[in-house]
């Protein structure tokens, strides 16, 4: 044992080293909440650090009061000379942040605390008399601690004094400040400024400096955070959009610290209990991972290298991040299924799937990177996985190579913003085009993956898309894109913890079912940042994009609109409809892309012939298409999405033809922007035009039903028009209520349903 660790050697001296050598306890007591000292241990450091850090401002006053009292007493007793330096309130505030961020040593609680105390001293010196005044007041440090709605103690304590201190940096022009920092970034000052600004922004109305805008504070904060945590500007901007300020600081702190080491038992060869026992015998300190995992273990520390034990070499476990176990749990592969893992390297998820399937079925493990494939081969052989084929394709080449899988797992390559703690280079080397490039690739991969799933599989039809990134562009946006482009829907992942995905973010709006996706963060769940979405494919057909139309999710929508334009044809109505359509398009833009297709149909309808007789074309894409087909003899509509449309149309034709024609002609003229429900009154063209876009969006069933209903009421155009607009369905008024004006986005999903309904009705 070294001299320093020799317990028998007495430590002498008043200095910090002597105090340190007296033991962690004495130091810790001064800084941690009473009772926390005992629990400080393997599990302790991080959670301990996290807790106070996260609660800096609203820090429970009680904790600090206790601390201070304890520390005061202890301080008095043990370290009388340190009394002047004890600024517990602020030290408690900072030690976690400073120590962790600047020292990056989470193992030793003392050192960070020590340094925090030292920093505090330095700060005091810099700040001058104010601090000492506060300190000497107590024991009256407790006053500072009083948790009044959590304003920072700094701010609150001195009212005027504090504000002055805070304001100083902001009074200086930003440029000047930046120069200062560039020359000699004083991290302590920067850190303190960060805390100050966060505190001010939390209670902006009361604490702002006059004449300074919020954005100035935010810019200052951004720069400070970038300096303090070494982030690039772009990424920090993205993070500021994503998190509220207090969470942002926690997130940044969490990224400085590695996540705990976790491993997964290989149930093909051993049981978790046996493995845990074997590892403990070797000197590894571990625990089960949590309720949610039956095979996971978390390693606190180990006296042997955890990646080189004989158990590891025999393939009894695999080192795997906790968040990487989640997508496989969400996918839930069953035995005797055919699974595709599109980006499998280094093989952790693949092997997990194989062990869940008990080596039955087939897994096709694919990766585009040949180097990393070697690790897949090695891992799978080591773990005794026998039902796997390993291939080296670009994921986008599926399903051409082979398709028809029961389940697919896509762990897409991403920007890695969720695993910054593993790879700090991500902080600076990611920027806008990297993210967009990743997003583009992910979209392509996701579409290929969806096409590789067999929707009619008896036991499957599921796809899990996951990334280790937390940006919205790579997660929700990609998922939303897939929802629009393919016949899939989101289903619950089966993970009951984790934050829900966003349904809206800044200026974007996503499908509401995105709530079933899950996000995981390092600072809240203590695992790598992750995003998981589970899809179910309900139809193997791929929605075609209409000529000039944007791709829509359901073929029915597409079919109908296309039919309409053709059938309508009358030049005049077409033109007018176009005009109307344009206005409608603008209305619709806010709605789903399906509407877009509708709009395009309107454009197409231009060329439609005058035979249009069927009003539907004008008014509602869906409705009209159906009508038109039926009414018009020729299959103008047939050209586009035939099967469904023609079917529908024909059924409707008998009723609607005459009325539709009249209605159509009239309605085509004036575009009406609004309400489809009372088209009759409006000039035909208008209504038609307006109705069309609206109808397009609404579920087919609805549109059809309405139209039909109206038809009997008003034999003429108006009736026809209305009916067409409302419901493409013919004879039977669908259950859909003729409430056009509400076109909720969920209607998009309903379209598939309505399609089914309408088909039933028609047939």
């Amino acid at each position: 044992m070294g001299r320093k660790l020799d317990p028998t050697k007495e430590k002498r001296g008043p200095g910090r080293k002597a105090r340190k050598q007296k033991g962690a306890e004495t130091e810790l007591v001064r800084f941690l909440p009473a009772g926390a000292v005992q629990t400080a241990g393997k599990k302790g450091p991080q959670s301990l650090f996290n807790a106070p850090r996260g609660k800096k401002r609203p820090a429970p006053g009680s904790d600090e009061e206790e601390e201070e009292e304890d520390s005061e007493e202890d301080g008095m007793v043990n370290h009388g000379d340190l009394w002047g330096s004890e600024d517990d309130a602020d030290t408690v505030d900072d030690y976690g942040a400073d120590s962790n961020s600047e020292d990056e040593e989470e193992g030793e609680a003392l050192l960070p605390i020590e340094r925090a105390a030292r920093k505090q001293k330095a700060r005091e010196a810099a700040a001058g008399i104010q601090w000492s005044e506060e300190e000497t007041e107590d024991e009256e440090e407790e006053k500072e601690v009083t948790p009044e709605s959590g304003p920072p103690k700094v701010e609150e304590a001195d009212g005027g004094l504090q504000i002055n201190v805070d304001e100083e940096p902001f009074v200086l022009p930003p440029a000047g400040e930046m120069e200062q920092d560039a020359q000699a970034p004083d991290l302590q000052r920067v850190h303190k400024r960060i805390q100050d600004i966060v505190g001010i922004l939390r209670d902006f109305g009361a604490q702002r400096e006059e004449g300074r805008s919020r954005s100035e504070y935010l810019n200052r904060l951004k720069k400070d955070l970038a300096i303090y945590y070494s982030y690039g500007d772009f990424l920090l901007g993205k993070l500021m959009d994503l998190f509220p300020l207090s969470e942002l600081v926690e997130f940044l702190e969490a990224n400085e610290v590695p996540r705990p080491v976790t491993l997964r038992t290989n149930t093909l060869k051993t049981r978790r209990r046996d493995l845990a026992q074997a590892l403990i015998n070797r000197g590894v300190n571990l625990d089960p991972l949590g309720k949610w995992s039956k095979t996971g273990l978390v390693v606190y520390d180990s006296s042997v290298p955890i990646g080189a034990t004989p158990e590891y070499l025999a393939g009894h476990y695999m080192l795997q991040g906790a968040s990487s176990m989640l997508p496989v749990m969400a996918l839930a592969p069953q035995e005797h299924e055919r699974i595709l893992d599109m980006c499998c390297a280094p093989g952790g998820k693949t092997s997990y799937m194989a062990q869940l399937m008990k080596n039955t079925g087939v897994i096709l493990a694919n990766d585009a990177n040949a180097e990393r494939l070697k690790s897949v081969v090695g891992n799978l052989h080591r773990l005794g996985v026998t039902n796997t084929i390993i291939s080296h394709y670009d994921g986008r080449q599926f399903p051409k190579v082979v398709g028809g899988f029961d389940r697919v797992l896509l762990d897409a390559p991403c920007s890695g913003t969720g695993v910054i703690s593993k790879d700090p280079a991500v902080k600076t080397n990611k920027d806008e085009k990297d993210i967009l490039r990743c997003a583009h690739l992910q979209k392509e991969l996701l579409l290929s993956a969806i096409d590789s799933v067999n929707a009619t599989s008896k036991t499957g039809g599921y796809l899990v898309y996951c990334t280790c990134s937390i940006t919205v562009e790579e997660n929700e946006w990609v998922v939303d894109y897939a929802l629009k482009k393919r016949n899939v829907r989101l289903v619950p992942t089966g993970l009951d913890f984790g934050q829900e995905g966003f349904t809206r973010f800044r200026e974007r709006r996503f499908h509401p079912s995105l709530r079933s996706t899950r996000r995981f963060y390092p600072h809240t769940h203590n695992m790598d940042g992750f995003f998981i979405a589970k899809f179910k494919k309900f139809s193997n057909s791929i929605p075609q994009s209409q000529t000039g139309n944007s791709e829509t999710a359901t073929p029915t929508n597409v079919d109908l609109p296309q039919v309409i334009p053709k059938s309508e044809n009358s030049s005049q109505p077409a033109k007018k409809a176009k005009g109307a359509a344009k206005t409608k398009q603008q209305l619709q833009k806010q709605q789903h892309p399906k509407k877009a297709s509708f709009q395009k149909l309107n454009g197409i309808s231009k060329g439609a012939d005058s035979e249009l007789s069927t009003v539907p074309s004008v008014t509602k894409t869906q409705a009209s298409s159906s009508f038109q087909d039926s009414s018009q003899p020729a299959g103008k509509a047939e050209g586009i999405r035939e099967p469904k449309v023609t079917g529908k149309l024909k059924q409707r034709s008998p009723k609607l033809q005459s009325s539709k024609k009249v209605a159509f002609l009239r309605q085509n003229a004036p575009p009406k922007g609004t309400d489809t429900q009372t088209p009759a009154v409006l000039s035909p063209s208008k209504t038609q035009a307006t109705l069309k876009p609206k109808d397009h969006h609404q579920p087919l069933g609805r549109a059809k039903g309405v139209e039909k209903q109206q038809l009997p009421e008003q034999p003429f155009e108006k009736a026809a028009f209305q009916k067409q607009n409302d419901t493409p369905k013919g004879p039977q008024p669908p259950t859909v209520s003729p409430i056009r004006s509400s076109r909720p986005p969920p209607a998009k999903r309903k379209k598939s349903q309505s399609r089914g309904n309408s088909q039933l009705l028609l047939s």
Binding site: A314, L364, H381, T386, N387, I389, I390, H392, V401
Partner: protein, 110 residues
């Protein structure tokens, strides 16, 4: 990926027979299906038939591995057995200690 030729099968079988004796048939007919040996890039893979059928769709230059690799043929056409074959040979091993893994102590064969 192709089946083994006669010559190759003979060479491989001779090697394996040193450990498990003469019953190569035990490896081929298993309770959970028929397994077979396939050669790909000079490596011999031991794989069940239905997996092999799926792997047939993958072009040769993109296929990396399938099932379990038993060993490979060297440039001079000798067969070198790999440790990855251990799990399959162990149950039938005839030689005492020849396939035991003393380190983990969990695969001692008599």
């Amino acid at each position: 990926m192709r089946p083994l030729t006669e010559e190759e099968t003979r060479v491989m079988f001779e090697k394996i027979a040193k450990y498990i004796g003469e019953n190569l048939q035990l490896l081929v007919d298993r309770p959970d299906g028929t397994y077979c040996f396939r050669l790909h890039n000079d490596r011999v893979y031991y794989v069940s038939e239905k997996i092999m059928k799926l792997a047939a769709n993958i072009s040769g230059d993109k296929l990396v591995s399938l099932g379990t690799c038993f060993g490979k043929f060297t440039k001079t056409h000798k067969f070198r057995l790999h440790v990855t074959a251990l799990d399959y040979l162990a149950p039938y091993a005839k030689v005492c200690g020849a396939v035991s893994n003393s380190a983990t102590g969990d695969e001692v064969k008599d």
